[in-house]
Symmetry: C2
Subunit: 465 residues, 2 copies
């Protein structure tokens, strides 16, 4: 593969080392000019790394030297921790300026994460009408469409011509993301149509909005879950979606750039839950910024649940202790059978959980999934058994009876685990809970106990214990 | 939470049952009109479900009755399997029409998945110049920026005024997604600047493009990996990114709507790999459409690798058989210690793998990650040990010596597993491989063997076996 012309990461690293060099020599203005060669997202990333290397104080000096409009945009891109630390250091006037200048949706994001006393100080000095709007937005339940939207959108009248609409847009002169779709409301503020900027630009000047607006469109309710909103964006590929209240009045819009963050966030949550981690911390901190105590708290519940399940596993083993001490070599294959059961079960669960998340699989596919996993389980079980037969008889030199115990148990365990692993997510989803949260611990504990029981039953049959 | 005004899913279900009803009564025109109440993405989904319910033949009848422009868009949205089955049934003229009318990037997508003989038949009848372009696009390596881009973008001259630019855009009248960012090239086709449509619309008519275009912009090389492209979109929140060749000539653009699909695809791959599934099937089929044989093939490698690892685990157990048969109750705690090691190790691995994917963690964070996991492991190990001490002594009524064996082993195993689980992904990433692919099997097998060894060493120490 040919080499890449310019590697952005290399550019960033060069930039960072230049900036750190300048800071060491106290050449703050040179450092600032170096920073300003990058875009706002990159500047935020560079400042984050500067903080890591030389502390927040020097970052704040640099931050204050940025042009006002840049500093506002960069502030919105910084991670919560850095934002809060900057707010602690800069003065109230500076904070107020930044908050005032932020786009409305960024403003809400920032306010949500700032310490309560800072927020109330800011709100005190906000004009009454805006304060009310901010409070409404701050009060939407977590993770709903309302918390993602911005009230800044372009409203057009259905009787306007395209020329009038374009003039109106030019006058409003709004932010890039929010301009690409325009909304038409009736006198009761109900949403009746949407027109994309591209339609306006390619239409003739004297065409009426009424004649080009689309009246069939996808929209979200303000209380809709953000995961559903994100999946609608992926499904339809829209730039923006209108958000309506229960009376179908337009209350805001959600733009695609905010959705990309939500998709990343929701995916992280799913992956962590599937990996046995429940994030009790709603501040969205990075791995390294999360304190040890929080890490322990997030990881402990699942381990404790399994620990309790192992009491039952232990009881099954105890009840079989006599037989085990008679044929101690049975112990050798115990971890393999239990482990394979768990692993093969979580393979099935992974596929179904992901399938449910991407709408490839639905709870109503119960029978089709079971039939598929039954056949997959049988095939895998038989193949692994053949391998194990060779191992037990030829490598370990055990009796054929022991080999049969292990192999027949293996087939049963794999089939059982595949069906368990695929059915639990479907049942959990049907019951309205999150399959990613419940499936894996449930599968691990149930399949362990069942694997042992199957193994011991086979031992009874083939070895007469 | 208040009820949602209109539920799109319910609408779709109603629509589907109406359509199925009409098909049963052979009222095809009514069924078509019902379909046309939905947007193209939804029509494709409805047709997919119609195929599932009553077979492809009736779907094709419906598909043929759609207005031509709708049928082209719907075709692009259908899953590969359905597309190929439709192509088998409809005649060459119809296929040719659809392929011709598709947007360039959809055309490439469709051609990539169609049977080779159909593709060559289509290419034969394509004009020479376009055939060349199509072949170039079809030949980009899988999963690189080149396969995602479209050559359909708006080119502006730097000397034009805004008015001239807007007139040019109106004349070209291109597809919605591709119009929002315009590109400025020099005489050698090198990319020198970008202007967003929103900037054009809010600028005065006589302003020169040269004065409003941005010359500092993010771009992708045509051979860049699609995962990197997707993460740039998430990071910067852009609508489109220009794609350049090694001479910095603009060869195409990637628009956000295609990226949403890539993000979903890449996430699915990561999640499946973390769940021990390697997708050897590059046709992107849904879970239910993937044949049993392919499912077995995708899941077997990991299980076989673990199976081989279990031979070593078995050897460790065998070498300790004497001691085990002396104190058979030691067997009771074996699955718990091994299981907890595996689970706690994969918790750490999950966090690090996801952190690497979202750039929260970097391989250079080695020491910080290890220090964090050491403390997390110690805390969790001690807490779980306390629980276990109570269980072993009071619930199971075993000796304190056995309890100490189990508890001290537990602490060591958890710490070891946390460090192993966090370090392996970092090492694998540093070596240039995919951590999601290698981490979990490696952790499972190593931590099993180490957990057993630690346990038996503790038994020697505390029980003098």
């Amino acid at each position: 593969m040919p080499e890449v012309t310019i590697d952005r990461e290399e550019l960033m690293e060069e930039g960072l080392s230049k900036i750190l060099g300048c800071l060491e020599e106290k050449k703050y203005f040179v450092a600032r000019d170096e920073l300003l060669k990058f875009n706002n997202v990159d500047i935020a990333e560079l400042l984050e790394e500067v903080t890591e290397e030389v502390g927040i104080q020097k970052t704040v000096i640099l931050f204050r030297m940025l042009p006002k409009d840049v500093s506002v945009e960069v502030f919105a891109e910084l991670p919560t921790d850095d934002r809060n630390r900057i707010v602690e250091i800069i003065n109230d006037k500076e904070i107020e300026y930044i908050i005032q200048e932020l786009d409305f949706d960024d403003k809400i994001d920032v306010l949500e994460e700032l310490p309560a006393n800072v927020v109330s100080k800011i709100l005190e000095r906000t004009p009454r009408s805006e304060r009310k709007l901010i409070n409404t937005f701050l009060n939407y339940p977590d993770n709903c469409a309302g918390t993602l939207m911005t009230p800044e959108y372009i409203s057009l009248e259905k009787d306007w011509t395209v020329r009038e609409a374009l003039d109106h847009i030019k006058k409003e002169g709004m932010d890039a993301e929010t301009i690409y779709t325009c909304y038409v409301k009736d006198s009761g503020r109900k949403l009746i149509g949407i027109v994309s900027l591209s339609t306006l630009v390619i239409s003739d000047d004297d065409v009426r909005i009424n004649d080009i607006m689309r009246t069939e469109f996808v929209h979200e309710n303000v209380y809709e879950d953000q995961e559903k909103v994100a999946s609608d964006f992926t499904k339809y590929g829209f730039l923006a979606l209108p958000v309506v209240d229960n009376e179908f009045r337009l209350v805001g819009i959600i733009t695609f750039d905010d959705i990309l963050d939500i998709i990343e966030e929701e995916t992280t949550e799913d992956i962590e839950r599937m990996g046995g981690i429940i994030d009790f911390d709603d501040s969205d901190r990075d791995y390294l910024d999360t304190p040890v105590k929080q890490h322990v708290l997030n990881r402990l519940p699942w381990l404790v649940i399994l620990m309790i399940a192992y009491i039952f596993t232990g009881m099954i083993i105890s009840s079989f202790e006599g037989a085990l001490s008679e044929v101690i070599s049975l112990v050798t294959y115990m971890p393999m059978l239990m482990g394979t059961g768990g692993n093969t079960g979580s393979q099935a669960a992974t596929l179904i959980i992901r399938g449910l998340a991407t709408d490839e699989v639905e709870p109503s596919d119960f029978v089709r999934v079971m039939w598929k996993e039954l056949r997959v389980g049988l095939s895998i079980g038989v193949l692994l058994s053949l391998l194990n037969f060779l191992r037990v008889v030829f490598l370990d030199g055990e009796s054929v009876a022991i080999a049969l115990t292990v192999c027949v148990a293996m087939i049963c365990i794999v089939i059982f685990a595949k069906i368990l692993g695929s059915m639990i997510p479907l049942i959990v989803k049907k019951a309205g809970a999150d399959p990613a949260l419940i499936a894996n611990p449930a599968i691990s504990s149930i399949s362990d106990a069942v694997a042992l029981s199957i193994y011991f039953v086979m031992a009874k049959i083939f070895l007469g214990l």
